[in-house]
């Protein structure tokens, strides 16, 4: 029997008095691609940030690959096994694309520079921006920056990739190049949690969809079912609203 890669147990998160995540329990199997959606402020980003403990959650726990994050002393080591991609890329502006990618492998995993660069080379090729390796982030288009950020997250060979609205800040013509990279990742068996409003990606690529509202998981469904036959009224409303917009 396969064990879940991520197991979230009774997780709650507050910002001051505001409850951002309300007693969430859910788990994710290795090799699956799960899209997380829901209205603005429903806690999607907060949930992702709990999965690599970028937020100090109050109660509950996240078990990643058998390790409890709450009691983990080597959180940095665990994080290096979880790649994360952000809405606004968050590339380091003072480093070239190459150095953005090799920074963590060199200083977290202690890989020497040549080896790290050889690896980065392959990753850049994979995301299709090898020719941009020596440029600075600001010299790249949004789509290229996001692909560089994906390469950076992949450089530590993570077991899990977290995407927080990776295409929301992109001009429409650049969205597909990023989605293409993500589709390839999913096809190659990467475990992925993706917060996105790209319903096409959710339907075609994701195995499952998780729908959140007001800090709770309202519905979890196979992606086909979610769109054709949502269980909850709130999900129904949400789908209508999102699809209307398109």
């Amino acid at each position: 029997m396969t064990l879940p890669l991520v197991q979230i147990n009774n997780l709650s998160l507050r910002y001051g008095n505001f409850v951002a995540l309300d007693d969430i329990s859910i788990d994710f199997m290795p090799g699956t691609c799960v899209v997380i959606c829901g209205p603005s402020g429903s806690g999607k980003s907060s949930l992702l940030r709990c999965v690599n403990r970028l937020e100090d959650f109050g109660t509950g726990d996240v078990i990643f690959d058998g390790q409890s994050l709450k009691s983990a002393h080597n959180i940095s080591k665990i994080r290096s096994n979880i790649g994360m991609v952000f809405q606004h890329f968050e590339l380091y502006p003072h480093l070239s694309v190459m150095n953005n990618i090799t920074l963590a492998p060199r200083y977290v995993n202690g890989i020497n520079r040549d080896e790290a660069e050889a690896k980065a080379h392959k990753l850049l090729e994979r995301v299709g921006i090898l020719d941009q390796a020596n440029k600075y982030p600001d010299e790249l288009s949004g789509g290229q920056q996001q692909r560089a950020a994906i390469a950076r997250a992949l450089a530590l060979e993570p077991k899990l990739m977290l995407f927080d609205e990776p295409t929301s800040a992109l001009d429409p013509e650049m969205i597909s190049e990023v989605l293409q990279v993500m589709r390839d990742l999913a096809r190659n068996g990467m475990t992925m949690l993706v917060v996105t409003h790209e319903m096409g990606f959710a339907r075609d690529v994701a195995d499952e969809v998780v729908f959140m509202d007001k800090g709770k998981v309202i519905e979890r469904n196979a992606s086909g079912n979610f769109f054709d036959n949502p269980q909850s009224d709130r999900a129904k409303e949400f789908i209508d609203r999102v699809l209307q917009k398109i």
Binding site: S76, S80, G83, L103, D138
Partner: protein, 237 residues
């Protein structure tokens, strides 16, 4: 005004040696103090951003104390009071050192300027998007590594103008150290005046030194800013 200028007297011995010694001392003092202040200021600035409440408290206390006591008072404290607080053996060893005024001036200027730099580091760091921290932490970098490789280099580039102006400040502040007997430029001018009654020439020479050095620093920092600029943050290629 009926004053006959006699610039040549500056070139006569021992005046010339005093001028040279003064310039050398000023530059040496400013550069070393600035270097120390930069290192210490970065450390304290980082401490003030730390997650640990104790560390933050230490950092804030340091900044508030050293920034708010006038530099002149601090120099006097270091020169006259600090040695008295040392154990007897240490105090004797300290007094026997060569160049106690210079060392005292170095300590005083460094600690004072470190507080100012720490404050600038903090505001520089606060201007860095939170996502940069999240990105660095998410790749497994520790807090120290994140500051060392991501936050400080980024903040440093944003802060070059402020740090350059801190050097100019330290350079001008070094004139205060004549009060504890450091023979820097202003001190040298004072000595020359005392021996020759030629205050105007002596102080003009001192002013010229400050102006020339300030100009070279401004030019150098302009170059540095250009060389280290982050595309998109400070001007484009």
């Amino acid at each position: 005004m009926n004053y006959e200028f006699d610039w040549s007297l500056l070139l006569e011995e021992p005046n010339w040696s005093w001028v040279i010694e003064g310039i050398a001392n000023t530059i040496q003092l400013s550069l070393v103090a600035w270097g120390c202040a930069l290192v210490l200021g970065v450390l304290i600035g980082a401490i003030r951003m730390s997650k640990s409440r104790t560390l933050r408290f230490i950092g804030t206390t340091y900044v508030e104390i050293f920034r708010n006591i006038p530099l002149l008072v601090q120099l006097f404290l270091w020169f006259f009071v600090f040695p008295l607080l040392l154990p007897d053996d240490l105090m004797r060893a300290w007094n026997r050192l060569d160049g106690v005024p210079f060392l005292t001036a170095l300590i005083g200027l460094s600690l004072f300027t470190a507080a100012r730099i720490a404050e600038q580091i903090r505001s520089g760091i606060s201007s860095i998007p939170k996502g940069q921290f999240l990105a660095a932490y998410s790749t497994g970098l520790t807090e120290v590594q994140t500051f060392r490789h991501v936050i400080i280099p980024y903040a440093f580039r944003v802060m070059i103008p402020a740090i350059a102006s801190e050097f100019l400040t330290i350079f001008k502040n070094s004139a205060l150290t004549l009060t504890i007997g450091v023979a820097e430029v202003t001190g040298a001018a004072k000595t020359i005046e005392a021996y020759t009654f030629r205050g105007i020439e002596a102080y003009s020479a001192a002013s010229l030194t400050y102006m020339l050095t300030t100009a070279s620093v401004v030019i150098f920092m302009g170059w540095l800013e250009h060389a280290l600029r982050i595309p998109g943050l400070i001007g484009k290629r």
